[in-house]
C-alpha cells in the first residue's frame, strides 16, 4: 500500500508541477516581450519609459517567485530567482549596456531551462548571477548556499526515478502524438487508407506505451486510445475514405489531445476526449455505458481528491436503464472485492485505514454515478458511507471488529439492494442498518423518512417506468428544422451533401421492406441509415431530423432484433416518415426551416408505434407480419457493409458549371477549327511540295540549256584556245541558273522540314485532342446525377396516385445508375410525374376489372432509363388497358377537331392525345384528369429538345418512349452535303454507312425504289426529301446511303448527296424561343464558321405525322393553347408554407404563381388571371378575408374560386371566411389529398 501511496504522491506532484510550469511559462513569455521593449527604450534613451518597463519586468519575476513559493517546489530555483530579483533591483536602477547583455543572457538561459524541462538543472542560472559584471553579483557564499539548496532539492524530490519514469512515458506519448499529428495533416489533404493505417499505428503505440508502463492515472486514457485505434481499423476494414466530417473529427481529437497534453490533470480535458469518441460518425462510437465506465475508471484513481464537488460530465438519462444498474452493480462488486480482505484482517488496523482512505472516494464516485443514472436514494447511501469513512480516518478511530462488521453489513445490504432495487425488504433493511447508533453519523428518523421514498421510488425503475417516462406526445419543437445560431458551416455543408442521398436511400430501403420480397438485410440497412441520419442531424443540430429518425431507428431496431417485418399499418407510417424525411431534406436544402405541414402527425404516428412496440411489441394479429427465416445472427448488424461511400463534396453553383461546360464546348469547336486549318495547310503544303519539285525539274532543264548554250558560244569566246575541260567558263546566265538551283534546293529542304514539323504538330494536336476530350468528359460528369436521385420521388407519386384511385400498382425503375445531366433530369421530373400519374389513373385498371381480364390485381409500371448514342431514352410501360383509339377518335369528333367521315391512321389518332386539353375522360379526376393533357408533357419534352412516341396495345398496356438529346456536349456527328448546305447527322439509330456499290436499287410495282443488300431489302428515303428540300439528283443515280433503324425497329436506307466525314461537334440549342423543330436536335458551328443543323433522322422518319388532318379552327386553337396550364395563385406570407403548396400544386400539373399578402396578390393579378386561389388567413397589409372580399367584389375576378388554408379552427373565423366568399375553408395541418381534391372539384366546376 505504501508503494501505492508514493505513486499517488508522485502523480500529484507531477500534475502540480505541470500546472506550475504552465503558469511560469506564461509569465516568462510576457517577460520576454517586456525585455524587448526595455532594449528599445534603452536604445532610444527614453529613461522614464525604461524605468517603468524594468519595474514591470521585475514584477513578472516576483510573480514567478510567488508561484514557486506557494507551491513549495523547487526551492533551489526559487532562491535563484529571488537572488536574481535581488540582484536586478540593484543593477537595473542604473543599467549599463553590459548589464543589459547579462540580463538578456539570464533571460535566454531561463528560456533554455524551460525548454529542456530539466527542472533540477539550474546551475547555469546560478553561474549567470555570479557574473561579476552585475552591480551586485552573487557572493561566493550565496552561490554555495544555493548549490546546497539545489542538492537538497534533489534529495527532497520524492522518488525522482518514478518521476523520470513518468517523464519517459510522457515523452514517448508526445513523440507518437506528434507523428500522428503529421499524419493527420496528410489525412486532411489526401485521405487515403495507408495514411489512416499509419495514424492508427501511432495511436496504438500510445495505447501500448500506457499498457506496458501501467501508469495508474493513464489507464483510462490507454483504453480511450485503443478505442480510437479500433475505430480507425474499422474504417480501414471498410476501405472507406475519410470524408470532411471525419477529418474534422480527427482534427478535433488531435486538438483536444494537445490540450490534454498541456494539462493532463484536467478531468475536463479527458472528458472532452471521451466526448469526441461518442460521436456517431465513428464506426464504433463510445456508448453511454462505456462512458460511465471511463469516468469511473478515471475518477477512481484520484485518491487524493478533496471533498470539493467536482463537475463531471453527467450522464442523465430520463429513464433508469437496467443495463446501467448492472454496470453500477459490477463496479460496486469490484469495490467490495477490494475491500473485503482488509475488512476481514482484524489484526492489521492500519492497513484497513489505508484501504478505506484509498477507497472512500470510490464511494463518492459511486454516489455520483448512482445519481446520474437516477438512483437518488442509493446516491445518498453511498454519501452516508463515505462521510462515515472520512470521519473515521480523520479522527483516528480505531476500527474495531464491531465497526468492521457494521461496515461489511452495509456493503452486503447495498449489494442486495442493487441486485433488486424494487425489493422493499432490502430497502427497509438498509435503512434500518443505516439508523444503527454505531455509525458516527447515523440516520435520524427524518433522514430515514426522506431516504426511504428515494430508495422505494425505484420501484418504477423497471421497463414500465421507462415507458412512463417516454415521450408520448410529439411537440412542435420535435419537428423543428431550424438550424442552431452558430452552426458549423463545414458540418452543415457535409450534411447538405449527404442528406439527400441518405433520405433517398432510406425511402428506397423502406419501399423494399414493404415490398413482396423483403429481407432482413434491408431492415438492417434502414436501421443503419436512420442511425446515420440521427447522428448527422444531431451533429448539426436539426431537431426535426434527429427526433424522427430516433424513433424510426427504435422501431427498426426492434424489427431487426425480433426478425419481423412491419405490419401493413406500420408500413404505411414508415413510408410516410420516409417521405416526410425527404421533404424535410428538400426544405433544408433550399435554406428554409419550416417543417412540412404533416410532419407533426407523422412524428406522432411513429412515436405511437415506438411506444406500442416498446410496451407490447409489434401486434401479431396482422397477417402481413412475417417471421423471418433463417434467424439473424447477432453480429449481422455490424457486418453489414456500407452502401454509400462517403467522399468529400463541395457545392458549386450550377451557373459556374454551365460556364465550364460552355468553355469546354467552345474549346472543342476551336480545336476542330484548328484541325480543319491544319488539314488545309497540310494539303497546301503537299501542293507546294509538288510545285517545288516542278521548279527543281525546270531549274535542271534550264541548267542543261545554259550549259549547251555555253558550249555553242564557246568558239566566240576569248578563251577559245582552251578546251572546256581545261578551263570552265561561265556566263551571267549560268551564275543565275546556279543560284536558282540552290534556291530551289533550299526550298525543297524547307519543305521537307515543314513536312516533318507538320507531322509533329499533328501528333501534338492528337495528344491535345485526347486530353481535351478527357477534360470535357470530366467537366460534363460534374453535372451528371444518377437516376436514383429521382427514383423515390417517382415512387412517392405512384403511391400517392394509388391512394387516391384505390388501385394497387408496383413501380419498377430500371437504370437507377444511369447518369443523366441534372438539368435534363430536373426538366424531366414534371413530365415523368404526369406520365406516372396518368398511367395509374388512366392506364391501370381497378383491381376488379383486372381480375375480370385475368390480369394480376397488382398493376405494374416499368420506368426504364438508358443511353442511346447521344440520347437519353426513357421508357414508361404499363400493363393497363392501353390507348383506346375509338375513344380518342370519338372525343376528337365531339370536340370538333376532326370531321365524322375523316379517316386517320393509328399514329394520327394517337397523336391527338398530345393536343392541348385533349382528354377522353368526361370528368376531371383528382389525379390527372384536370383539363390538361399529354400536351404539357410534350411541351416540356420539346423544351428539352426531346421527342415522345407511343405504342399501345389494347388491354395490354401503353409504352411511352422519350428521347432527349444531351445538349451542351460535343458529339461525334457525320457531316453530309445536302444541296449547297452542310448538315450534321446525329448518330441516333445510325447503324452503317453504305457505299453506292454496296446495294442494288430495285424498283417495285408501285414504281417506288427499295434497296437490296445481300438478302435484306430496305425501304429508302432521300435525306433532302425528309428535310423538305428539293432532291438534287435523279432517282437513278446511286448515292451513299445511311442505314438507320427507327425506334420501332424498322430499318431504312437514307440517301445523302455527299459524305463529308465525321466531326466532333458541339451541339447548341437555338435560343429560348425555339424549343424544338421536327427532326432538328440543334445546330453546330463548323470550323469555317458555317452553321450546320444537327439532324435526327429517326425522328424525321417516324414523326413526320403532322396535324395537317385537323380542321382549321382546331389548329388555331391548338397554336394558341400550346403549353398553357391552368394557373393557381398561392397567397401566403410564410415562405415555407407557400413552397409546400406550390410544390404540391405543380406536381398536380398547375402553373403556380405566388404572392406574399393580399396587396401583393392584387398586384400580381394585374398581369394574369388565376383559375384558382389558395389563400392564407392571417397576412400582413391585407389579410385573406379582406383579399377574398376584394376579389369577390370585382366583376372580373368574382368567379375565381378561393380556398383558405389557416391554423384558425374556430367557427367564428370559418363563418367570416365564408361570408367573404371563400369556397373551401381548410385548417392546418391538412392532408395533401384533401387539398388536391378541393382544387380538382373547384376547377372542374
Amino acid at each position: 500500500m505504501a508503494t501505492n501511496q508514493s505513486v499517488f504522491n508522485v502523480i500529484n506532484q507531477e500534475i502540480e508541477f505541470l500546472t506550475i510550469w504552465k503558469e511560469i511559462t506564461l509569465l516568462f513569455e510576457q517577460a520576454t516581450e517586456i525585455l524587448k521593449t526595455i532594449v528599445d527604450y534603452q536604445i532610444n534613451n527614453d529613461i522614464d519609459a525604461f524605468n517603468t518597463t524594468v519595474e514591470t519586468y521585475k514584477q513578472h519575476w516576483l510573480q514567478i517567485g510567488d508561484i514557486l513559493k506557494e507551491s513549495q517546489q523547487q526551492p533551489a530555483l526559487l532562491y535563484t530567482l529571488l537572488s536574481f530579483v535581488d540582484i536586478s533591483t540593484q543593477s537595473l536602477q542604473d543599467l549599463k549596456s553590459i548589464q543589459l547583455t547579462l540580463l538578456n543572457q539570464w533571460h535566454y538561459l531561463f528560456n533554455d531551462y524551460l525548454i529542456t524541462e530539466d527542472y533540477l538543472e539550474i546551475s547555469p542560472l546560478i553561474e549567470c548571477l555570479s557574473d561579476s559584471q552585475w552591480t551586485r553579483p552573487l557572493t561566493k557564499k550565496s552561490k554555495n548556499d544555493l548549490f546546497i539548496v539545489l542538492d537538497n532539492s534533489k534529495q527532497l524530490t520524492i522518488n525522482t526515478e518514478t518521476l523520470n519514469h513518468y517523464h519517459h512515458i510522457w515523452d514517448k506519448i508526445r513523440t507518437f502524438f506528434n507523428e500522428a499529428q503529421i499524419v493527420t495533416d496528410k489525412l486532411t489533404n489526401r485521405s487515403n487508407i495507408n495514411e489512416l493505417q499509419n495514424y492508427a499505428h501511432y495511436w496504438s503505440m500510445i495505447g501500448e506505451t500506457i499498457a506496458n508502463e501501467e501508469p495508474k492515472d493513464l489507464l483510462s486514457l490507454g483504453d480511450i486510445c485503443y478505442l480510437l485505434v479500433d475505430n480507425c481499423q474499422q474504417l480501414i476494414k471498410k476501405n472507406s475514405c475519410l470524408n470532411s466530417e471525419f477529418n474534422q473529427l480527427l482534427k478535433e481529437w488531435q486538438l483536444l489531445f494537445k490540450i490534454y497534453l498541456h494539462d493532463v490533470s484536467s478531468e475536463q480535458n479527458l472528458f472532452s476526449l471521451i466526448k469526441v469518441l461518442e460521436n456517431n460518425l465513428w464506426p464504433v462510437p463510445l456508448t453511454a455505458k462505456d462512458r460511465i465506465m471511463f469516468v469511473e475508471l478515471n475518477t477512481s484513481n484520484e485518491e487524493n481528491e478533496t471533498n470539493e464537488t467536482k463537475e463531471t460530465i453527467a450522464v442523465k438519462p430520463v429513464v433508469i436503464s437496467p443495463e446501467l444498474i448492472i454496470t453500477l452493480s459490477n463496479e460496486f462488486v469490484l469495490l467490495v472485492k477490494n475491500l473485503s480482505p482488509a475488512i476481514m484482517d482484524i489484526s492489521d488496523k492500519e492497513n484497513f485505514k489505508i484501504v478505506l482512505k484509498i477507497h472512500y472516494l470510490k464511494f463518492k464516485h459511486l454516489s455520483k454515478a448512482s445519481e446520474t443514472i437516477g438512483l437518488q436514494g442509493l446516491a445518498k447511501v453511498f454519501e452516508f458511507i463515505s462521510a462515515n469513512i472520512i470521519d473515521g480516518c480523520e479522527n483516528e478511530i480505531d476500527f474495531s471488529k464491531n465497526e468492521r462488521i457494521l461496515f461489511k453489513d452495509s456493503l452486503l445490504l447495498i449489494q442486495a439492494y442493487i441486485m433488486d432495487v424494487t425489493n422493499k425488504n432490502s430497502v427497509l433493511a438498509l435503512i434500518n442498518h443505516l439508523q444503527a447508533s454505531e455509525w458516527k453519523f447515523s440516520l435520524d428518523q427524518s433522514q430515514a423518512q426522506t431516504l426511504a421514498p428515494l430508495l422505494l421510488d425505484l420501484e418504477i425503475s423497471s421497463e414500465d417506468a421507462q415507458l412512463d417516462n417516454r415521450k408520448i406526445t410529439a411537440e412542435e419543437n420535435d419537428i423543428s428544422l431550424k438550424l442552431p445560431d452558430e452552426v458549423n458551416q463545414e458540418l452543415l455543408d457535409s450534411l447538405l451533401n449527404e442528406l439527400p442521398i441518405l433520405t433517398t436511400n432510406f425511402s428506397i430501403v423502406i419501399q423494399k421492406i414493404i415490398s413482396s420480397d423483403p429481407n432482413i438485410k434491408q431492415l438492417i440497412e434502414a436501421q443503419r441509415i436512420a442511425h446515420t441520419l440521427k447522428g448527422s442531424g444531431n451533429i448539426v443540430g436539426i431537431t426535426g431530423i434527429t427526433v424522427l429518425t430516433h424513433y424510426l431507428e427504435e422501431i427498426l431496431e426492434y424489427l431487426t432484433e425480433k426478425q419481423r417485418f412491419p405490419t401493413k399499418e406500420l408500413a404505411v407510417s414508415l413510408l410516410e416518415a420516409a417521405d416526410c424525411l425527404e421533404l424535410m431534406c428538400e426544405i433544408i436544402l433550399i435554406g428554409e426551416n419550416q417543417s412540412p405541414d404533416d410532419s407533426l402527425q407523422i412524428l406522432q404516428s411513429i412515436l405511437d408505434w415506438a411506444n406500442i412496440i416498446r410496451k407490447e411489441g409489434l401486434p401479431k394479429k396482422d397477417e402481413d407480419s412475417i417471421n423471418l427465416t433463417p434467424k439473424l445472427k447477432k453480429n449481422d448488424i455490424k457486418k453489414t457493409p456500407e452502401v454509400t461511400e462517403s467522399v468529400t463534396m463541395i457545392r458549386v453553383s450550377s451557373t459556374l458549371i454551365d460556364k465550364l461546360l460552355r468553355m469546354a464546348g467552345e474549346s472543342s469547336i476551336l480545336r476542330e477549327q484548328l484541325k480543319e486549318g491544319l488539314n488545309q495547310f497540310s494539303e497546301e503544303l503537299k501542293t507546294l511540295n509538288k510545285l517545288t519539285w516542278s521548279i527543281q525539274t525546270l531549274v535542271s532543264k534550264l541548267d542543261k540549256s545554259v550549259n549547251i548554250h555555253n558550249y555553242n558560244s564557246y568558239n566566240k569566246n576569248i578563251y577559245s584556245q582552251f578546251d572546256s575541260l581545261e578551263m570552265e567558263q561561265y556566263s551571267e546566265l549560268h551564275t543565275v541558273t546556279s543560284h536558282l538551283e540552290e534556291v530551289a534546293t533550299d526550298i525543297r529542304n524547307i519543305n521537307i522540314s515543314m513536312d516533318e514539323q507538320l507531322v509533329d504538330l499533328k501528333y501534338l494536336i492528337q495528344d491535345d485532342d485526347v486530353i481535351q476530350k478527357e477534360n470535357q468528359e470530366i467537366v460534363q460528369s460534374i453535372r451528371m446525377v444518377t437516376v436514383s436521385t429521382i427514383a423515390s420521388r417517382c415512387q412517392r407519386i405512384v403511391r400517392q396516385a394509388c391512394r387516391m384511385t384505390n388501385k394497387e400498382v408496383e413501380l419498377n425503375i430500371k437504370g437507377n445508375d444511369v447518369l443523366i445531366d441534372s438539368k435534363i433530369l430536373n426538366g424531366m421530373i414534371d413530365p415523368l410525374m404526369h406520365i406516372l400519374r396518368n398511367s395509374v389513373d388512366h392506364g391501370i385498371e381497378t383491381k376488379d376489372i383486372r381480375q375480370q381480364h385475368h390480369k394480376n390485381p397488382l398493376g405494374k409500371i416499368s420506368l426504364e432509363f438508358s443511353h442511346q448514342g447521344n440520347y437519353i431514352i426513357i421508357r414508361c410501360q404499363d400493363d393497363g388497358k392501353g390507348l383506346s383509339n375509338d375513344n380518342i377518335l370519338q372525343t376528337a369528333i365531339n370536340k370538333g377537331l376532326i370531321s365524322v367521315n375523316q379517316k386517320l391512321t393509328d399514329a394520327e389518332i394517337q397523336k391527338l392525345i398530345l393536343m392541348p386539353g385533349f382528354s377522353t375522360r368526361t370528368n376531371a379526376t383528382q389525379v390527372s384528369g384536370r383539363g390538361i393533357g399529354m400536351d404539357i408533357v410534350q411541351t416540356k419534352i420539346s423544351e428539352l429538345q426531346g421527342q415522345m412516341s407511343f405504342s399501345s396495345i389494347k388491354d395490354q398496356g401503353l409504352n411511352i418512349e422519350i428521347a432527349i438529346p444531351q445538349m451542351l456536349s460535343s458529339m461525334l456527328s457525320l457531316l453530309v452535303r445536302c444541296g449547297s448546305r452542310t448538315m450534321a447527322v446525329s448518330n441516333r439509330g445510325l447503324e452503317k454507312i453504305h457505299h453506292p456499290d454496296d446495294y442494288q436499287l430495285i424498283k417495285n410495282d408501285t414504281k417506288e425504289f427499295s434497296c437490296q443488300i445481300g438478302k435484306e431489302r430496305y425501304s429508302t428515303r432521300y435525306f433532302s426529301e425528309l428535310l423538305g428540300m428539293p432532291i438534287a439528283h435523279n432517282n437513278t443515280k446511286k448515292l451513299p446511303a445511311l442505314r438507320i433503324t427507327d425506334e420501332i425497329g424498322k430499318t431504312y436506307l437514307v440517301f445523302v448527296d455527299e459524305l463529308l466525314g465525321y466531326r466532333d461537334l458541339l451541339v447548341k440549342d437555338m435560343g429560348d424561343y425555339i424549343s424544338h423543330i421536327q427532326g432538328i436536335t440543334g445546330a453546330s458551328i463548323l470550323g469555317n464558321g458555317e452553321v450546320a443543323p444537327v439532324i435526327d433522322v429517326v425522328e424525321l422518319l417516324h414523326h413526320s405525322i403532322k396535324y395537317d388532318f385537323l380542321l382549321d379552327d382546331a389548329t388555331k386553337s391548338m397554336i394558341n393553347n400550346v403549353g398553357k396550364l391552368p394557373i393557381a395563385l398561392v397567397v401566403d406570407d410564410s415562405l415555407s408554407a407557400r413552397r409546400s403548396v406550390v410544390m404540391l400544386l405543380e406536381d398536380f400539373g398547375l402553373e403556380v404563381k405566388t404572392a406574399i399578402d393580399g396587396l401583393d396578390a392584387i398586384k400580381e393579378m394585374e398581369s394574369m388571371r388565376p383559375n384558382i386561389m389558395i389563400v392564407d388567413l392571417e397576412m400582413p397589409r391585407m389579410n385573406g378575408i379582406d383579399f377574398t372580399a376584394h376579389i369577390k367584389g370585382n366583376e372580373d375576378t368574382k368567379n375565381i374560386p378561393v380556398i383558405m388554408i389557416t391554423s384558425r379552427t374556430t367557427e367564428k373565423h370559418r363563418k367570416q371566411a365564408k361570408a367573404a366568399g371563400v369556397a373551401v375553408y381548410m385548417t392546418k395541418p391538412f392532408l395533401e389529398e384533401e387539398l388536391i381534391n378541393n382544387v380538382s372539384k373547384l376547377m372542374s366546376s
Binding site: 428535310l1027 447548341k1068 435560343g1071 424561343y1073 425555339i1074 396535324y1107
Partner: protein
C-alpha cells in the same frame, strides 16, 4: 468569309452622351410593313449588316434560319413575311438583333431604328391585326402611332409556331 459584316451598337451607353432627354421617355422605333413598332431603350440591341443566315429545314419560310453572332446561334425571322406584308427585297440586308444570349432574336429591317422621345401614351388601342394584337404592351403617339412590342410574348409565340 467574303461578306463584310458591319455591326452597329445601339446600346444605351453610346446614346446617353448624346441624348439629354429623360431616359424614361426614350424608345427606339422601327417599321415592319405598315406597323410602327417601338421597344424599350434599355433592351439590348444591335444592328448587323451583310451577315450570312443559315437556313433550317422544316421551318416556315418566315423563319429565315440562324446567324452565328460571336458563337451564339440566334434565330432570324422575316417579320414582313410573317405579317403578310410585301416582303423586302434582298437588297435590304440589315438585321436588328434584340436581346442578348439565349434571349436574342433577329429580324430584317428596312432602315436603322429611330430614337423617339416626347411620346404620349394613348389610352385607346386601335384595331390591330390578329397576329400582333396580343403582344402590344402600350400605344404611343408621336408623329405617328407607335405600338410598344412585348418582345418576350411575341417571339415565344413565333417560336412555338416554328416548332409545331
Amino acid at each position: 468569309m467574303d461578306l463584310e459584316t458591319e455591326i452597329t451598337d445601339l446600346s444605351l451607353v453610346n446614346l446617353l452622351d448624346k441624348a439629354t432627354v429623360n431616359q424614361q421617355d426614350l424608345r427606339y422605333g422601327f417599321q415592319i410593313g405598315n406597323l410602327n413598332l417601338i421597344y424599350d431603350i434599355h433592351l439590348s440591341c444591335e444592328l448587323l449588316k451583310n451577315i450570312p443566315v443559315y437556313s433550317i429545314p422544316n421551318t416556315p419560310k418566315w423563319m429565315l434560319g440562324l446567324i452565328n453572332l460571336r458563337g451564339n446561334l440566334i434565330p432570324v425571322f422575316d417579320l414582313e413575311d410573317y405579317f403578310g406584308f410585301e416582303g423586302l427585297d434582298n437588297q435590304y440586308q440589315l438585321w436588328l438583333v434584340l436581346g442578348k444570349g439565349s434571349k436574342a432574336v433577329a429580324f430584317r429591317v428596312k432602315d436603322y431604328p429611330e430614337l423617339l422621345s416626347d411620346l404620349t401614351k394613348e389610352t385607346i388601342i386601335p384595331k390591330l391585326i390578329p397576329k400582333i394584337e396580343n403582344h402590344i404592351i402600350a400605344v404611343y403617339k408621336g408623329e405617328k402611332l407607335w405600338l410598344e412590342l412585348d418582345k418576350e410574348s411575341f417571339f415565344l409565340t413565333l417560336g412555338k409556331m416554328v416548332c409545331i
